[in-house]
Symmetry: C2
Subunit: 92 residues, 2 copies
């Protein structure tokens, strides 16, 4: 096993990300936001529904920009109960 097959916690985190993005999208259509972010509507759907729990960094960046979200907010909202206790803390 050379590649971590995405733990349930990671999928849960991806689900939170999807909910957050969908909420931020509000009443706008998927196609509109996806076009604004430069991705396909299907991909946006997968991210929002949690079927793509760990999208590429710049995909999220583009979506956050299209939705007017702060990346720090997004990241904070997705990791409410931090995973590695001390990732930031230990390093800092």
């Amino acid at each position: 096993m050379v590649r971590t097959p995405l733990t349930p916690a990671e999928r849960e985190r991806g689900r939170r990300l999807g909910v957050l993005l969908r909420t931020a999208r509000g009443g706008r259509s998927m196609a509109e936001v996806a076009a604004a972010a430069g991705i396909s509507a299907e991909t946006l759907r997968k991210i929002e529904t949690g079927r793509a729990p760990t999208p590429a960094f710049f995909t999220v960046v583009a979506l956050a920009a299209a939705l007017g979200l702060s990346l720090d907010e997004v990241a904070g909202a997705c990791a409410p109960a931090e995973e590695p206790a001390g990732a930031a803390g230990a390093a800092a």
Copy 2:
């Protein structure tokens, strides 16, 4: 062609991300930072050297946390010139 094979611009963007992360790492070892971020040293090396230009969102989140960086700063530093300025602006 079902998947955009990573344009040169995207690779360039990834290279900027790598340089930024390496600079933020300072004198600390790759293994130390990678462990703090919860990823393998090999992966961190690939990201820093630009060989993994579009890492997963939460990978960058973990690295930024381990390095004490703001995600908005990171994203801004990676797309200095021609990030589709309309993305955020148009949406907002």
